[in-house]
Every structure is written in C-alpha cells, then in structure tokens.
C-alpha cells in the first residue's frame, strides 16, 4: 500500500514537472464532458484526485480536452479563472460567469437564465426541463463567450500592442539617425525580415509598402499566439493558433484582401486564360475558380493542422506515462517531449512565416502586371 502511494506521488511529480517543461498544464480540474461514458472512463481527473480509478485512462479524450477551447482558464493547483459567458438568444443578450455552468467537481450543471443552459461536450446548449438538448432553441443560440482562447487572444493582442507601440515610440524618441536599441533592435530585424524576405520578393518593391501593415499584423499575431500556445501554464496554455476558428478568420481576411486588390488581368487569367484555345479556356476557368477558394482554405488548414499536430504530439508523449502506468516511461517520454517542444519552437516561427509568405504570394499573384503581348505572340506562332 505504501509502495503504491509513493509510486502514485512519483507519477504525479514527474508528470507535473514534465508538463511544465513541455506542454500545456495537465489541469486536473478541467471539466469533464457529460458524455455517457465519461463516468466510466474518468480521465486525468480521477488520477489527479487520488488515483480512484487509475486503470481507466482515455488518452484521446485527455488530449482533446487540452486542444479544445474551454470556459475556464487554469491558473495553478485547484484555481481556475472562470471566464464570462456571453450568449445571444431569441430573448437577447445574457452575460454570466462560467462558474455557474459547473459544480464543485467541474461537472456540467444546468444554469437557469433566460433558458436552461448546460455544457454538452464543452459547448453551451439549451436544455429542457428533463435535461435533454433542445435542438430548435439551441440553433437560435449564439455563443460569444470570452473563452480561454479568446482571453489568450486578448493577452497576445495586449502583448503586441505594448511591445510594438514601445518599439515605435523608440523610433520617435531617438530619431532615425541613431542605431536601434533594446526592444527596438529586437523587433527591427523581424520587421525587415517580413519586408525583405516575404513582402518585397512576392509583391514587388513598388506595391509591397501598401500591404506591409497587413502582412506584419498577420505575422506577429500568428507568431505570438504560436509561442503563447507553447507555454504550458497560465498566460499561455491556450491553443489559439491551433483552433480552426482562428486560422479561418485570418484566412478569410487574406481571401478578402487578395480579391479586393486583384487587378483585371488576374480575373482574366482565371475566367478567360489568355493565349489559349477557347476550349482550353472553358476547361481552365472552373479549375482556376476553385483555386481562388482553395488558396485561403489551404492557409486555414495548414496552420491549424501544424499547430494542433504539435500539441497532440507533445501531449501523446506525456500520456505515455499514464498509458504504461509506470514512472519509468517518463525517462523516454520527457526527453522526447522536450525534443518535440524544441521543434515546436521552430514550427511556431516557421508556420507564421509560411502563412505570411503565402498570403504575400497570393497578393503578389493578384496584383501582378501580366504582359499580354507575350501570350498573344505565342498564340500566333
């Protein structure tokens, strides 16, 4: 018995240590979704709460818990930040603390507001008196809650505003004649990198300046959120850039910018490819038109998949300890998790770079001046 408790303690110590090093906090008090099998499977919660059902550990569910969004933000120990829930229903807006949606064991409970709300698999739904989901009413429900991801996004916005406005103030203070110093000298190479390696080669020096603010904002927003996602505890720990909603929003912004800045020749190359036989033109038009949409969709999926995959990989390695139920598994799991964590640092930068690079490339393609003479001559010969 003593041996068991010592072992259990060791497992806990090692897991906490390794999690702090490499991944998001294994928050024991993460709410458990009210799935039918939840009671039987009891994930990490049980393990952290005194190894009641140590044998039952659902890896997939545990990992998804950490990838997904949440209404509370784990701080330390048993303390969590309960974020506000903002709902828009047919009866108007409603704001209340997410604390009211869970009981002291972090199990979802019904909150009676304008409707009866309950978290079903992490999503707020309207339930009837019997506790069943009211699909019709839930369709009218719009959830604008400040979730963990939204709060983390606000943190990154705050960081960006403070850092970049400080850097900008330094330029105003020291003028352009003196060399950049401190924060300013740290940001300037990154800004120059975006300008000289991303914007100018793809868009061209003449037009690049117009798109620089857009590209820089995208780049720094993705970069900050990627890095914040790698921090396993409080200010980080959310998986913003690995969330499809985040990547979708940015991809849609790129889509809008690309299509608004597209010139006549871009559309001509899509709908009526110059220098081709008319049958070929008819054949190419739908393919090119699909390309208009696949470009932003590829942006959306690439960033989402890369960041999510990285998080899943690190979490999987840590979960090895719980799968093998031995502390010795950490001898392999922890170094590997640290190694993957290092690679994730590279990926965090790389994905921000690739997203911005491709956005610049699409803008470049849309604003490029084509030389129709060359096409015309080719057709004649």
């Amino acid at each position: 018995m003593t041996f068991r408790s010592i072992k259990s303690l060791l497992v806990k110590t090692f897991s906490v240590f390794s999690l702090l090093l490499a991944t998001q906090a294994f928050a024991g008090e993460n709410h458990t979704p009210a799935t039918p099998e939840a009671g039987a499977v009891a994930p990490v919660t049980a393990e952290a709460h005194g190894a009641k059902k140590e044998g039952d550990f659902n890896v997939t569910e545990t990992i998804l818990e950490h990838i997904k969004d949440d209404h509370s933000w784990h701080l330390w120990g048993h303390n969590s930040l309960h974020l506000p829930v903002i709902l828009k229903t047919s009866k108007g807006f409603e704001v209340f603390s997410s604390e009211k949606l869970v009981d002291e064991h972090h199990e979802p409970v019904v909150y009676k507001g304008n409707f009866d709300y309950k978290l079903i698999e992490g999503k707020t739904k309207i339930v009837d008196a019997a506790g069943n989901v009211d699909e019709e009413a839930s369709k009218q429900l719009w959830d604008f809650s400040i979730t963990k991801n939204v709060a983390s996004l606000f943190v990154s916005v705050l960081i960006l505003l403070v850092v970049l406005l400080t850097a900008a103030a330094a330029y105003k203070k020291t003028g352009v004649k003196s060399a950049p110093k401190g924060l300013q000298s740290f940001m300037e190479p990154i800004i120059l990198f975006v300008r000289d390696e991303v914007a100018v080669p793809n868009i061209g020096a003449k037009k690049a300046g117009k798109y620089m603010p857009f590209l820089l904002t995208i780049f720094f927003l993705i970069l900050t959120n990627n890095f914040l996602g790698l921090i396993p505890f409080f200010p980080g720990g959310a998986n913003v850039s690995g969330n499809i909603a985040f990547t979708m929003t940015l991809a849609v912004c790129v889509f809008i910018v690309v299509n608004l800045s597209a010139n006549k020749s871009y559309w001509e190359h899509i709908f009526w490819m110059p220098g081709m036989h008319w049958s070929m033109k008819l054949f190419l038009a739908p393919i090119e038109l699909i390309g208009v949409f696949t470009k932003p969709i590829s942006l959306m999926i690439r960033l989402f998949a890369n960041i999510t995959a990285g998080h899943i990989l690190v979490l999987s390695l840590i979960c090895l300890i719980f799968i093998f139920k031995t502390v010795f598994a950490s001898a392999i799991a922890v170094p590997f998790a640290v190694f993957i964590g290092m690679i994730e640092l590279l990926v965090a930068f790389l994905q921000a770079f690739i997203f911005t690079m491709l956005a610049a490339m699409y803008i470049g393609m849309a604003t490029e001046e084509h030389h129709h003479d060359a096409h015309g001559e080719a057709a004649h010969h």
Partner: protein, 172 residues
C-alpha cells in the same frame, strides 16, 4: 445530417464566438498597429535607409569632386610652374640684354675717352715739341750768338743762317 458529421470532430468546427472576437482583435490590431506602430516604424526604417543611401551618394560625389579639384590643382600648378619658367627665362634674357647694352655703352664711352685722350696727348705733345723746338732754337741762337758773336759781326746774316739750319733740323 452534415451538421452531425461536423459535430463528430469538434476540432474542425469553428466557434462563432472565437471567429467574432478574433475578427475584432485582428481589425483592432491592424488599425492601431497600422497607424501607431507599422507606419512610424516603416517610415523610420525607410528614412534611415534613404539617409544612408544619400550619405553614400554624397560621399561618392565628394570623392569625385575632390579628385576633380586635385586634378585642377595639378593643372594649375603645372601652369604656374610653366609661367615661372617663362618669367625666369624672360628675366634672364632682359638681364643679359641689359648687361650687353651696358657693356657696349661702356666700351663706346671708353673708346671715345681714349680717342679724346689721344687727341689731347697729341696736341700736348705737339705743343710741348714746339715749345722745346722754340726753346732749343732760342738756346741754339743764344749759344750760337755767343759763339758767333765772336765770329759773326753781321747779326742779320747770322739769323738767316740759323733759321736755315733750324729748318733743316726736323724733330719728327
């Protein structure tokens, strides 16, 4: 139901809340950073690059100007040297000419003085000779008178005779 299909994996189902807040956050960043960060930073970087470019161009211009000035200076120096040589040459020529002229003049004067002196000497000599002749004559007469006083009574005859003799004596 396609909606149910999406619900199977909640990872690929975007939440409207995050989409909304993300749009707000992104637009806020784009506007605020665009106005207060990117614009001044990019402007400052551009200004600095422009400044460096200008400074380099200016330095190049100065260098070429300096080179032009140097070659100009050299040309001027060469010209000055040439002028100096000409001046010296001219001065020497003038000096030579003056010396020659002076020499010539001096020689002419000397010649004139010598010629004058010769004339004067000759005159003096002639005068002296005449005087000597006359004195010798007078002496001869006196001596002859004294001698002949005893031999010749006729004074007139004696004088005629002496003059004849004297005519015969040519000193030159």
């Amino acid at each position: 139901m396609s909606f149910m299909l999406l619900e199977i994996n909640p990872l690929v189902l975007p939440d409207i809340g995050l989409v909304f807040w993300n749009t707000v956050a992104f637009l806020l960043l784009l506007v605020v950073l665009g106005k207060f960060a990117w614009k001044p930073i990019l402007k400052a970087i551009n200004d600095r690059e422009q400044g460096i470019e200008d400074a380099l161009a200016k330095a190049d211009k100065m260098k070429s100007e300096l080179a032009a000035m140097q070659s100009e200076n050299e040309a001027l120096l060469a010209k000055a040297r040439e002028e100096r040589a000409t001046l010296i040459k001219e001065a020497k020529e003038t000096a030579d000419k003056m010396v020659a002229e002076a020499k010539e003049k001096a020689k002419a004067q000397y010649d004139a003085i010598v010629a004058d002196a010769q004339v004067a000497i000759n005159q003096q000599k002639n005068a002296a000779l005449t005087d000597v002749k006359n004195q010798v004559g007078a002496l001869v007469i006196e001596v002859a008178e004294k001698v002949l006083h005893k031999e010749l009574s006729n004074k007139a005859a004696q004088e005629t005779y002496i003059n004849e003799l004297a005519e015969g004596v040519k000193l030159n």
